[in-house]
């Protein structure tokens, strides 16, 4: 107890975040296990985890590092395709689901981190708008490459092509694993809600600890004032790359989770295009740039909301957009902020003044 009280304010806040996630997850898990949850909601559990991880990952890049990336769906795509490819390939060789999933996770995250690092090298030399545009381009490149990739397997090993399945030159008993635009079909459904929650917590712990570390302070110093940070001897390139690669790797986790939740994985502009990247950015901005806990709840809310609006039929996406605008205004418009401050102050003042009167 004493230890708890001694804890710094930030770590207390972090533990509160973990506890909130755990409690919500526990309630959802129990409801699902006892059959008190609708099929829709129980089907949404894993996607919510994936998008929460994505939002937290992007928040590391946008909020902590201060560099705007609109290509994070691309890193998710790398994680998804690498891990799904591995799981499909090893489905018969490694029959135990959790071992296969763990290996797929390590591979998927590793590749996303690698791609993040490689893209980061040229991209992080840019600033602001330029960086945003280049990340957008890289995200689209990843998506499009994934959409024309053909990989097959026969007794001679793996065959690759960027043209079509015929040019793979497979033997008669060969199997096409990645089929261009049709993607990967028949990925084993290895992810579940428990794994999802564990991965959300791992992501949160990684990001929170990074932020409160020496490296994290260096990263935030770069965000706040590049010249000042450089003048005190912080290695700008190194810390930018660290933050960007970790952010890409965490997006990879989300991709792995996403790919193992569905039976089919296709690279379309719907799931890995820039629309998705902007959607993740919306989660981050709505939750508050740099606010990790906010990202978690904004992502969960915005994934579930369009499904809850299904009763509106054709007006569903229209109303969803309107709600987004209203919430965004309420959260960030200066006059709305001032209004909230006023209400808060009034609410705080009233008990104070009554106290005085009593005294």
């Amino acid at each position: 107890m004493k230890k708890l009280l001694k804890m710094s304010k930030t770590s207390k806040q972090n533990y509160i975040t973990y506890a909130m996630v755990l409690v919500v997850a526990l309630i959802a898990g129990v409801m699902d296990a006892t059959g008190n949850m609708s099929s829709l909601m129980s089907g949404l559990l894993v996607p919510v985890c994936a998008y929460v991880i994505l939002a937290v990952a992007l928040n590391l890049c946008v909020g902590i590092l201060g560099e705007l990336s609109i290509g994070h769906a691309g890193f998710m795509c790398v994680g998804a395709f690498v891990s799904a490819f591995f799981s499909k390939l090893m489905a018969s060789t490694i029959p135990v689901a959790w071992i296969r999933f763990t290996l797929a996770l390590i591979l998927g995250v590793g590749f996303s981190a690698l791609i993040g690092f490689l893209i980061g090298l040229p991209v992080l030399r840019l600033k602001g708008d330029y960086l945003a545009i280049v990340t957008l381009a890289f995200g689209e490149i990843i998506k499009n490459v994934a959409a024309v990739l053909y990989v097959g397997r026969d007794s001679k090993g793996l065959h690759f092509s960027l043209q079509d399945t015929m040019s793979l030159g497979l033997e008669k008993d060969g199997e096409v694993i990645i089929k261009g635009a049709q993607g990967i079909t028949g990925t084993p459904n290895d992810s579940n809600f428990v794994i999802g929650v564990i991965l959300v917590l791992v992501t949160l712990i990684i990001v929170n600890n990074l932020v409160n570390s020496r490296d994290g302070r260096a990263i935030m110093a770069i965000r706040d004032n590049l010249i000042a940070a450089e003048s005190v001897g912080i290695n700008i390139t190194k810390y930018k790359l660290i933050a960007f690669s970790i952010s890409a790797a965490l997006s990879g986790i989300a991709g792995v989770l996403y790919a193992h939740n569905l039976n089919t994985l296709m690279s379309t502009s719907k799931n890995f295009g820039y629309n998705m990247s902007i959607m993740i950015l919306v989660y981050v901005v709505l939750g508050g740039i740099g606010n990790i806990r906010g990202s978690v709840f904004a992502a969960a809310l915005l994934v579930i909301l369009p499904e809850l609006l299904r009763f509106l039929n054709d007006y569903r996406m229209l109303i969803y957009a309107v709600i987004l605008i209203v919430v965004m205004l309420f959260n960030w418009a200066p006059s709305a902020l001032a209004f909230r401050e006023k209400v808060k102050a009034k609410w705080k003042k009233t008990p104070d003044s009554t106290k005085k009167e009593v005294a």
């Binding site: 829709l40 569905l262 039976n263 950015l281 569903r316």
Partner: protein, 402 residues
């Protein structure tokens, strides 16, 4: 630094909003459907609950709208005629945005609603994802238009109304070969589309056994589908005397237009995706003169069933003409009706029992619909029906006779 980030963020967000509201705008003009509404429900009486999903918003909305509208139309007609085995039908159509994840959400929504029979999913990619779920739930699924073989592979509860893509490719190659339509063939296909690549691959395989050779292959993707002069020029230079177009009609209309500009007069040959080319806005119908297509359905056919369906659809949905997707969905609902009647099923049976009973019925049935006569199904889920070769003459589709 921070202010720049903020500026760009707000710009990006505005763009996002604008995009999403544009998408909505599209859907609202394109769809007049009343998805989600129940048709003629009698209170607390037993009803059949039939659900369907398709993209009602976004770029593929025209397909989903046709499927959901036609399925609803069929349900309304059946209800007006007294229902199935005396029980009325409730219909619910959900939006899946042609996305695997959203399709699973839409399916789960329908399951919560109490769906017993599933007429979906419209698009192949999304369908593969829902098939995994219906298979686990043992729910009977008839997909009107998901034509990939992955949809029916490895399960026993899913059946297709449309041809599988490979079948279309093989049938097209055989038709061209057997009727000696050409000796040198060029292909232009959409490499980012499951339907188009599926047909092309089997077409190329079967072409090896036929009397013609493929001299030029031009691919394009969904992001780059307005200028086809490179592909057409390549076909022309290689002396192709027939161009095979396993694509949808919107791109085909552009290709025909650009071929004329290039002065390339050649025989065009397509699959069922070309149905609808005559109703493209501002399209010069004379360009399509002589185009051959292999399709199970044409809206202008004088076949009694087709005329009735097209008229009813026009009446219900502001004069719009249904396409082949809609016709498939319409057949799907009537197929369910025919099987339920012959199997003497009632809606108080469990979903799984209904599925088991229907599995036994579907391999026995011979069904006459708007997309073909005497259609039969095999246990693996594929349909067997014969495509009709049609040719466009004087701005009309007429049966092709060599």
């Amino acid at each position: 630094m921070k202010s720049v980030v903020k500026k760009v963020v707000s710009l990006a967000l505005v763009a996002g909003m604008a995009l999403s509201s544009v998408a909505c705008g599209n859907s609202n003009t394109a769809t007049t459907s009343n998805s989600g509404s129940a048709t003629n429900t009698t209170s607390d009486a037993l009803v059949w609950k039939i659900g369907s999903t398709g993209p009602l918003t976004g770029g593929a909305a025209v397909y989903g709208t046709n499927v959901v509208n036609s399925a609803k139309l069929a349900c309304d007609e059946i209800n007006a005629a007294g229902g199935i085995n005396g029980y009325q039908i409730e219909f619910n159509g959900q939006d899946d945005e042609a996305d695997a994840e959203k399709a699973v959400n839409a399916y789960n929504t329908l399951k919560d609603w109490g769906m017993q029979l599933f007429v979906g999913t419209t698009t192949s990619g999304a369908c593969v994802a829902t098939v995994a779920k219906t298979s686990a739930d043992n729910m009977f699924q008839v997909t009107p238009s998901a034509s990939s073989t992955d949809v029916v592979n490895g399960n026993t509860n899913v059946y297709q109304i449309c041809f599988t893509d490979p079948n279309q490719g093989i049938a097209s190659a055989q038709y061209i070969g057997e009727n000696a339509l050409a000796t040198k063939v060029a292909v232009i296909y959409d490499s980012s589309d499951v339907y188009s690549t599926g047909i092309y691959e089997k077409f190329a395989e079967e072409a090896a056994n036929q009397s013609f050779e493929i001299v030029s292959v031009g691919a394009f993707t969904a992001d780059n589908k307005t200028d086809f002069s490179v592909q057409l020029q390549d076909a022309k230079n290689n002396g192709a005397d027939l161009v095979f177009l396993p694509i949808y009609y919107n791109e085909a209309a552009l290709i025909l237009n650009q071929a004329k500009t290039l002065g390339y007069d050649v025989q065009f040959f397509g699959c069922d995706g070309l149905d609808g080319i005559l109703s493209v806005e501002n399209f010069d119908k004379s360009l399509a003169e002589g185009v051959l297509l292999l399709t199970p359905f044409v809206a202008t056919s004088t076949d009694e069933k087709t005329v009735a369906f097209v008229e009813a659809y026009k009446k219900a949905y502001n004069g719009e003409v249904p396409n082949q997707f809609g016709a498939d969905a319409y057949d799907a609902v009537y197929l369910l009706k025919a099987m339920i009647e012959s199997g003497n099923l009632t809606p108080d049976m469990s979903t799984s029992d209904i599925c088991e009973a229907l599995k036994k019925e579907i391999v026995k049935i011979s069904f006459d619909g708007v997309t073909g006569a005497a259609m039969t199904w095999v246990e693996s889920g594929e349909v067997s029906k014969s495509p009709k070769a049609m040719v466009i003459k004087n701005g009309e589709y007429v049966p092709f006779e060599k």
